[in-house]
């Protein structure tokens, strides 16, 4: 006989009279017998109370007669229940392992008397049918799906989602069965779970499965759906990829007709083939088509990393576009993420490379600011190493350095993802180390709180002043992973704590630590962004720190931190943790200027064309420069921010791509007496102000200046930019080769106190070997 104590769930099962062989072979330990009696008594009492309280709750007569009416009408509906042959194929496929959940909007049930006329924004009337290995249930799913398809002419706008979860996805979650998955989904709030959802389309939604449809089966992929907002509004949804299941002769295609969506792309890791992308058109429907997959299920581990597509900036003619406007970016995540890929022996995905983040990963030796402007502006130019007739112009900003003891007090709330996926060594344990390093830097004026989120969320460390080192370290040590991710409640709580302990004039920030699977729900991404944006206005900023790999959602993380006046770092090892949390902590946490925008005004007499290297996602319309309502990047204490332009000097031949120059427009001739190449204009706001300040810096370059004579910082930044261009296979890379990058970087790595520049050289060597494979 096995003895069990009161902590064992079998204890309760036995008290409740459950019958099973297992329970017959266990007995309650003698010290818990009293507790057992109490449980028995409680169970009896519960039975009684439930039994006695049987107040006759029934449907009203109206409701029942409604049902009767509907029953009479059902004949017209029966034809929907005649399932076409492929339904059974669906069922057969599902039975071999795929799990599908079809969700769609329930139609108004009572047509004569619509009870719930849904306005557009309450698109959440979703019916859900779990399709597991139960054939009859899959039939129900298809039946309802058919209804949803056919019954859409009532003028009520709705949303339809097809949601398909796969076996692989189930495995990836670490749940053992489809039932557990549904249980997981319930906990995570199914619809609030970005994973496995295909499609998030808010406008007239015909979702058809083509006639030839046999069946579809998914494995991990990513859908990027950009809602047409110029200012990065991209949702990255992790999910499954459609693949053919060769049943009979049919091909499997899902056609999602999504009118009025300016841009949609679908990308993914197709087995070992890298990525593939299909785009819709600005005015028309976009089609997503399943990619045939030769081997069925991909042999490699599922890769659910999501990256937004990056289209490189092209040269722009100064005559047509004299103004170039962008927001600064101090993020560095792309660099460490790229490093992780190369170290792991994989060629980085081009869309994972944001060149400005590579350049800004390194600190440059720019002058300290003097005077009132909180940052210095350092402009330098020399010939481009990849095209000597072009010039590179570097704009380097350096934020005022603030001594540790002059730093304002900090009120930090760490929002830590403790979902099951964080259990890996390079995730939660690394996050814990990083947090401890940070806590060591803090003093009695600073406050730290920790909120965790997973299946449930909670405050594990109330806001505590940082002189209680032991308490805090202990709380950090006790973080454990387990459960599913559900970010919504956690982030709400984190902001609540941060607001309660708000320090006027201090550093108030919520810092998210996650592997990126931030499941607040597809439909709620917008609300999340709004929340973060709104809180940033109230002075609580937001930072995101990414850990690990596999289901890392780069695009979403970057977007969230941008909206929150925050920064975004990716930590791939202890050294990086030290860099972010210790070396750069002040800059990372202490913003000295916000909404920093740069507008470069080029002189057409001196410059024919220019190209901004990187900052693709940070470009602004020229009108946005003076618009204080337009959000932009922040600069922290001691931070350096670098931007490079490749410019075509006047007199150098430039291909205008077949567009004839205007007959009437002439370059401003030297009559202006100006030989200035350009003027760099900057707008910024003090951290607690809403009105921006303007500063400008005219610059005159020298076309004779050769690259080799430029400053080491200039040359190093150029080599990093060149490396990024090679990784992205840029059309502008000219004659640049990896060996050139290595040589330039090697010669230029001055003041490399933390060894990161030397590490870069090594990284380029490895990348070179990878590319040659």
């Amino acid at each position: 006989m096995e003895k069990i104590s009161k902590g064992d769930p079998r204890f309760t099962a036995k008290a409740l009279g459950e019958q099973s062989e297992e329970l017959e072979n266990v007995e309650i330990t003698s010290e818990d017998l009293k507790e057992f009696e109490e449980t028995l008594a409680l169970a009896k009492e519960l039975e009684n109370e439930f039994g006695n309280s049987e107040s006759e709750e029934t449907l009203s007569e109206d409701q029942i007669s409604d049902l009767g009416k509907r029953f009479e009408e059902r004949d017209s509906k029966w034809k929907l229940l005649m399932f076409p042959g492929w339904v059974y194929n669906v069922a057969a496929c599902l039975a071999i392992g795929a799990v599908g959940v079809v969700m769609y909007n329930d139609k108004g049930l009572f047509e004569e008397e619509p009870r719930r006329p849904s306005p557009v924004d309450t698109v959440a009337e979703v019916d859900q049918v779990a399709v597991n290995d139960d054939v009859s249930e899959s039939a129900i799913a298809v039946d309802r799906f058919e209804e949803a398809k056919t019954d859409r002419d009532d003028g009520v706008e709705r949303k339809t989602e097809i949601r398909v979860l796969t076996k692989e996805f189930v495995d990836d979650l670490g749940v053992g069965s489809s039932k557990q998955l549904l249980e997981y989904a319930d906990r995570a709030g199914v619809s609030g779970d970005a994973n496995g959802t295909l499609g998030n389309f808010t406008q007239p939604r015909t979702v058809q499965i083509a006639e030839t449809e046999a069946v579809f089966k998914l494995s991990p992929f990513t859908v990027d759906a950009s809602g047409g907002n110029v200012y990065r509004d991209t949702q990255t949804l992790a999910g499954g990829r459609m693949a053919n299941v060769p049943l009979e002769s049919a091909s499997s295609t899902i056609v999602l007709n999504v009118p009025a969506a300016p841009y949609r792309s679908i990308s993914g890791d197709f087995g070992n083939v890298r990525e593939s992308r299909l785009r819709g058109y600005a005015s028309g429907a976009s089609h997503m088509q399943a990619q045939p997959l030769s081997g069925g299920i991909p042999a490699s581990a599922p890769n659910r990393e999501g990256y937004d597509h990056i289209e490189e900036n092209d040269f722009r003619s100064v005559m047509d576009n004299p103004l170039s406007t962008f927001s600064i970016d101090v993020d560095t995540a792309s660099y460490s993420n790229m490093r992780r890929m190369i170290e792991g022996g994989a060629r980085p995905l081009p869309d994972a490379i944001r060149i400005e983040e590579l350049i800004n990963y390194f600190k440059y030796d720019y002058a300290e600011p003097t005077g009132e402007t909180p940052f210095s502006v350092n402009i330098e130019s020399a010939s481009a190493p990849w095209k000597s007739e072009h010039q590179l112009v570097r704009i380097g900003l350096k934020g005022k350095t603030i001594a540790q003891d002059e730093r304002p007090a900090a009120n930090l709330v760490f929002l830590v993802d403790v979902s099951g996926s964080m259990g890996q060594k390079n995730k939660l344990p690394l996050a814990q180390e990083a947090l401890k390093l940070l806590v060591e830097q803090m003093g009695s004026d600073d406050r730290i709180a920790i909120v965790v989120y997973a299946g449930s969320s909670g405050l594990v460390l109330p806001s505590t002043t940082a002189n209680n080192q032991e308490t805090i370290q202990h709380a950090i040590d006790n973080l454990r992973s387990g459960g599913s991710t559900k970010g919504g409640a956690g982030i709400e709580l984190a902001y609540k704590v941060a607001t309660e302990k708000f320090i006027d004039g201090g550093i108030n920030r919520v810092v998210l630590c996650t592997d990126g699977d931030f499941n607040v729900g597809v439909t709620d991404d917008g609300s999340l962004v709004r929340l973060i944006e709104e809180k940033a206005k109230s002075g609580v900023f937001f930072s995101a720190i990414g850990f690990g790999n596999g289901n890392y959602q780069d695009g979403k993380m970057e977007q969230l931190s941008n909206k929150g006046n925050g920064n975004y770092a990716y930590i791939d090892g202890k050294q990086e943790a030290r860099k972010v949390f210790v070396d750069d902590m002040l800059g990372t946490l202490h913003t000295i200027a916000k909404d920093v925008k740069i507008q470069v005004d080029f002189n057409p007499a001196e410059v024919t064309a220019y190209r901004l290297i990187g900052y693709v996602n940070r470009k602004l319309a020229k009108e946005d420069f003076n618009d204080d309502k337009k959000d932009a990047g922040e600069i922290g204490a001691g931070h350096t921010v670098t931007a490079l332009y490749e410019v075509v000097p006047a007199g150098v031949e430039f291909d205008t791509k077949g567009v004839d120059a205007s007959k009437y427009q002439r370059p401003a001739t030297k009559t202006t007496g100006s030989e200035e190449w350009l003027t760099v204009k900057l707008r910024y706001k003090a951290p607690n102000e809403d009105v921006s300040q303007l500063v400008d810096f005219p610059y005159t370059g020298n076309v004779e200046r050769e690259f080799k004579n430029a400053s080491p910082d200039f040359r190093f930044a150029s080599s990093v930019a060149g490396f990024g261009m090679l990784l992205r296979d840029s059309t502008h890379k000219g004659n640049l080769e990896m060996d050139d990058v290595i040589e330039i970087a090697r010669a230029a790595r001055s003041k490399d106190s933390n060894g990161l520049k030397s590490e870069f050289v090594e990284l380029v060597r490895k990348a070179k070997a990878l590319l040659e494979e």
């Binding site: 064992d8 769930p9 204890f11 309760t12 099962a13 459950e18 109490e38 449980t39 409680l42 169970a43 009492e45 519960l46 039975e47 109370e49 439930f50 039994g51 049987e54 107040s55 709750e57 029934t58 449907l59 409701q63 029942i64 409604d66 049902l67 509907r70 029953f71 509906k77 229940l81 005649m82 329930d106 049930l109 009870r115 309450t122 959440a124 009337e125 979703v126 019916d127 859900q128 779990a130 597991n132 009859s136 039932k179 557990q180 249980e183 319930d186 906990r187 709030g189 199914v190 619809s191 299946g455 449930s456 919504g488 409640a489 709400e492 609540k496 607040v520 709620d524 999340l528 929340l531």
Partner: protein, 176 residues
């Protein structure tokens, strides 16, 4: 294609099902929703679905089917509420997340049906649901598992916690 696909029951049969099961289903839906009125709408929808259901889908397991569909409907309703109030109402979030003191508010607006039931009403959503299935319907763990899609082990785990919690609160209430 199954022969019985078109086997339609007559209204009396459906009506009989309504009379026999409506009360239990309403209770069950309320245990998920934390309130009574929405529960009736949910149950009406469930029977509407039954009207439209091929007989072979429910034959032999009508009761299970009713509970399962009730559950799906009720959860959908909750999700809808959640979507509309996400970030506006942390309490709803907490209730949905099944954490914290949860549905106390909703439970309090209900009629008082007895102290212990009141305590049940204050349990987090999932616990409340399972306790209802267990003690009102007298279902076994396995039957609960069939209705909810949870594993038997998980059912046991949740009920174990629910009872522990109830016991603590009960004895606290008794001693007052």
């Amino acid at each position: 294609m199954g022969k019985r696909t078109n086997d339609v029951r007559d209204w009396d049969e459906v009506h009989q099902a309504i009379l026999s099961h409506q009360t239990a289903l309403i209770r069950y839906a309320s245990s998920i929703l934390g309130e009574r009125e929405g529960a009736k709408d949910v149950v009406q929808e469930v029977f509407l679905k039954l009207c439209k259901q091929p007989w072979r889908d429910v034959e032999g397991h009508l009761v299970n089917w009713l509970f399962r569909v009730t559950r799906n409907q009720a959860l959908d309703l909750l999700r809808k509420e959640k979507r509309m109030s996400l970030f506006e109402n942390p309490e709803t979030m907490e209730r949905l997340a099944g954490v914290g003191e949860s549905s106390g508010q909703d439970a309090r607006t209900q009629e008082r049906v007895g102290s212990l039931l009141e305590l049940v009403g204050q349990l987090p959503g999932k616990e409340r649901e399972l306790v209802t299935l267990k003690f009102q319907q007298g279902l076994s763990y396995k039957e609960i598992s069939e209705v909810t899609g949870m594993t038997v082990g998980n059912v046991g785990y949740v009920l174990h916690h629910a009872l522990k919690e109830l016991k603590t609160r009960w004895s606290a209430a008794e001693s007052v």
